[in-house]
Symmetry: C2
Subunit: 275 residues, 2 copies
Amino acid sequence: MTETHQTHGSVAPGVTGAVGQSMVGSPAPSVAGAAPLPESRDIPQATVTRLATYLRVLGVLTERGTIIVSSEELAAASGVGSAKLRKDLSFLGPNGVRGVGYDVTRLRARIERALGLDRGHKVVLVGVGNLGQALAGYGGFGRRGFSMVGLFDSDPARVGAPVGDLTVRHVDELEQACAELEATIGVISTPDEAAQEVADRLVRAGLRCILSFSPTSLDVPDHVEMRRVDLAVEMQVLSFNSARNTESVPTAPRVRIGHSAVPSTAPRNGSVIAP
Amino acid sequence: MTETHQTHGSVAPGVTGAVGQSMVGSPAPSVAGAAPLPESRDIPQATVTRLATYLRVLGVLTERGTIIVSSEELAAASGVGSAKLRKDLSFLGPNGVRGVGYDVTRLRARIERALGLDRGHKVVLVGVGNLGQALAGYGGFGRRGFSMVGLFDSDPARVGAPVGDLTVRHVDELEQACAELEATIGVISTPDEAAQEVADRLVRAGLRCILSFSPTSLDVPDHVEMRRVDLAVEMQVLSFNSARNTESVPTAPRVRIGHSAVPSTAPRNGSVIAP
DNA sequence: GCGACTTTGTGCATGGGTTCACAAGCAGTT
DNA sequence: AACTGCTTGTGAACCCATGCACAAAGTCGC
């Protein structure tokens, strides 16, 4: 059980969404089809990323038995400002009750639907090395609406081996298996050299969403959504900020413990039920 | 993270940074010591992230023997627009030669210095599970100016085991070991429950840069730079975009939004190539 | 039923980042 | 030496995003 460590309210440490934006709007032609879904309205990319974070926090609150949560509390727990949180949520329409807060369960369902997590996405993973196994065994997926349905590798030594409750299959079966399994998301955790080819295969298999852990930027058709996570990049950004910090804070780092005790960050709350 | 070659995507998972206000502005008193470093000027967060990406591509070009590269080529290989790339590089001062392009070696060194990678950062990693081992074995770190100097875990079964060329030590030795090893960056790849405690320890050990793979948002003092990578968030964002794509792109509009599609990822050797 | 209190939802100002378009500058050629 | 061709570097407009401050809207207490 997650320890809580609450009380440390901490003002939201400034959050820099490092974001990059992207024009997600429809550029040229106004989308022909009329308004499809209420939640399909254009939601800023940065907001989408944070919605996922809120969702995780809400999951924790649910386990804890919390019924109602205020924007202030949820924001503190998520590491963002309350105003930003409310604005983010407002893209989904009215979600809370004024003077009270948000119903945890209801809000959770709302965000899940908005993110499309209620579709039960099926994920296939290619490259069952250390990282691949870590991902396959990552419980976070299952708890958040994803189910791992297929593992693939090109190494004969790995094919046939059981990982979790799945058996590794040869990558040559990828195209066919994707169709059979009705996979919607593909994850690439192979060595760099193989990444592009695997991506091509996933595209041929009809997948439109790919998450790659290869640092190389892969080339895919426009209709395929592609996200890349480069672990080394994260470290380098950290390195830069390190240099920046040591420059600007040469003197004793004062532990700002008592920093503005935020009044109501603590879980104290009339509406919250603590088991 | 970053984007792919399409215009979508982008970046960065939740990033928690130090207090906003100004990156390093000149709010306080003029620093006694003269101008610190030329590259200490304030560089946008988003730009820093991309610089890391450019660096990787430049590494590939170096191995390939490319001497000169144009902004157009480098941008295509990095998955961004050429204008953006030039602007990003301009924060480091003049780097190229007009009418010619950028000297690969020189530009690489320039970015490395700007990101502080020439300091030989020493990294300690806590939590040697699947993910931890994947990170420890990730060659990308060594090739990019980082050296893994310590591995820690709380599981007695893991302590003492060799991983790569290091031996796992018990997490109780963390504080002392960090000082001895002169570590500057800490990586947390433990289960969620232990993340906050490990973070506290790393802070006590004097580290000012932490990279966490735990989805929970950790609480650290202001002077500590903290980045978080949540793998599930990446998938959820993908899920959202999936819904968006399938809705709005029933047909196949090959609208090219961003920069022109470069034929292949293979950089044509239009530029100078050393045999 | 009414007033006071609490919290959501949002209009608006501000700032950062992305993009466009073009002047500036260098190499090679005439 | 001047011209041509190409590429960098950047000024400026646009757009997204953040944060503030407040009105709207509901609950609680009397």
